[in-house]
Amino acid sequence: MSIFIDRNTKLVVQGITGRDGSFHAKQMLEYGTCVVAGVTPGKGGQTFENKVPVFDTVADAVAATGANTSVIYVPPPFAADAMMEAADSGISLIVCITEGVPVLDMTRVYPYVQDRKARLIGPNCPGLITPGMSKVGIIPGRICTPGNVGVVSRSGTLTYEVVYQLTRAGIGQSTCVGIGGDPINGTSFIDCLEAFEADPDTKAVAMMGEIGGTDEQQAAEFVRAHMSKPVVGFIAGQTAPPGRRMGHAGAIISGSAGTAAEKVEAFKSAGMGVAQRPVDFVPLLKERL
């Protein structure tokens, strides 16, 4: 099928009346996502695009529509509260697109969401898409095509680049997930790999990591120990100098840790394919499918 989102996804859009929220709510509706509600405090009772009811709180939206998934487009100062509100209202999958959430806020959000057994994807992420079925977030639908490669990445446009090259080469995707570039995020590479391993329609996985931290090394260890499906990996930032933050708050090489070479080595020793360039995913995945 897919991971995390499918035909049963009933989506509430937090911040639906804002500039980004309204634009992408429209795009998701056009893609066929089941958008059942919007939330903007003070705008409850309105209707978005003549079909989606707007509520003042997520709890109201869930009670009235049975929404099970939320996507968040609210500005950074309010994003932490929005994530916690969704978790407390019984939403089981929370996708936070907002960029610029303070990291100390995230240290509080993470355990709060965990305690309520919800899954958080992001923040600062493009969201996810199950091609031909449902999209939650901002990944452009037309670059994707249904198929059986799972895609997971820390970046936005780099994901688009790889997915575009796969689609051009006739390799479809089961689900594409952008987990976000911040130092503290809700869903890790390992969470996605585990889900792809359990998904009968995923036959192989493409994974795009980047410099900084040890998430990719841990993911490689997971692949070695627990994955029967082939995984091809890529690391961005081979030319990045140590000690400089490369755009993403998480992309920084500190001391000797988090270098591209270290991560590529971890991929190789886990038996993963290593794409040196985005375009290399195509032959490496074809060999393995």
């Binding site: 100390l104 670059i143 961005a236 990045a240």
Partner: protein, 381 residues
Amino acid sequence: MNIHEYQAKDIFRRYGIPVPPGDVATTPDEAERIARAYGTGVVVKAQVHTGGRGKAGGVKLAKTPADARAAAQQIIGMQIKGLTVPKVLVTPAADIASEAYAGVIVDRGSKRAVFMVSPAGGIEIDEVAATMPDKIMQLAVDPRYGLLPFEATRLGFFLYKNGKLARDASKILRQLWQAFTGSGGSLAEINPLAVTTGGDLLALDAKMVIDDNELDRRPDIAALRDETAENPSELAARRANLTFIKLDGNVGCVVNGAGLAMATMDLVKYYGGEPANFLDIGGSSNPEKVINALRIITRDPNVKAILFNIFGGITRTDDVANGIVAATRDAPLNVPMVIRLTGTNEEIAVQILQEHGFSAMTDMDEAVQKAVRLATGGKAA
């Protein structure tokens, strides 16, 4: 955002942490005057946003006001790791019995703020971790409760066997936690935390890094930014809402998105070239951003070719095309440019570019190879 030692000390002082007095000088005259007012030996310390000041000659002991003047003369304006030192901190020299380390940092592994303390201070904590890891105690703070008093006590007694020093240290750690969370820090460090010959604890050095995402809601902290301590190109980029990092190569890169920007730099290297910079124009583009990006890149005399790599999602490629046209109309380029764009409004973008004599490519690898070839005069790729 990095702040200077003297600014971090001001914050620490506000939260009750004992720090030595000190004043900032931007000229040798001022340094001499400050030293004379203290009437003791002083330390003259470079205020610059990089580590390794001591090794680079940016920290000097001065016995007399004349020495302080001479030290400031040498340090102000010197280059440390590519950054110019704009000012010095002049602070009375202290008599030290021992040096420890205390710091708190946001740890992505545990997804919490983590305290680290070590009785081996005065050297980089990375070095302690590598050579004597048993001399470091770590403690992840539960964000629901903050640093609890017993946790601070535990850390204090790891630092000092002496009960008074341990209790004093635990108080400083609780104050450090308040300073860290109250300022939106991603790192706060006291190294060294000194015991004076009189038996008192003193934060002799202070380092804080502020989470950029905190600055909008903390205008008092945002006001601490010292633009004279930044690389001029990076400052211009930040003012234009671009993320820019200067590198040593000759292929100037303009990309949307951090991951794709890094992957583009890597591809330049793969095909035998060297990237001149990291530059991310961000998610929602407008023509103004492209104009600023080109202005910043062409300021670098090393740049021999410019490469645009734009994957339109939220970014509209026609905005980028309009920016390229506007920027080159105002100031024609004297280096060749390769434009790769695909995605949102691609057809419109290509038409705009063609009407103005530019051509656009759709394949990333071909575009990078072409840019490298142009930058190296055909020697690579």
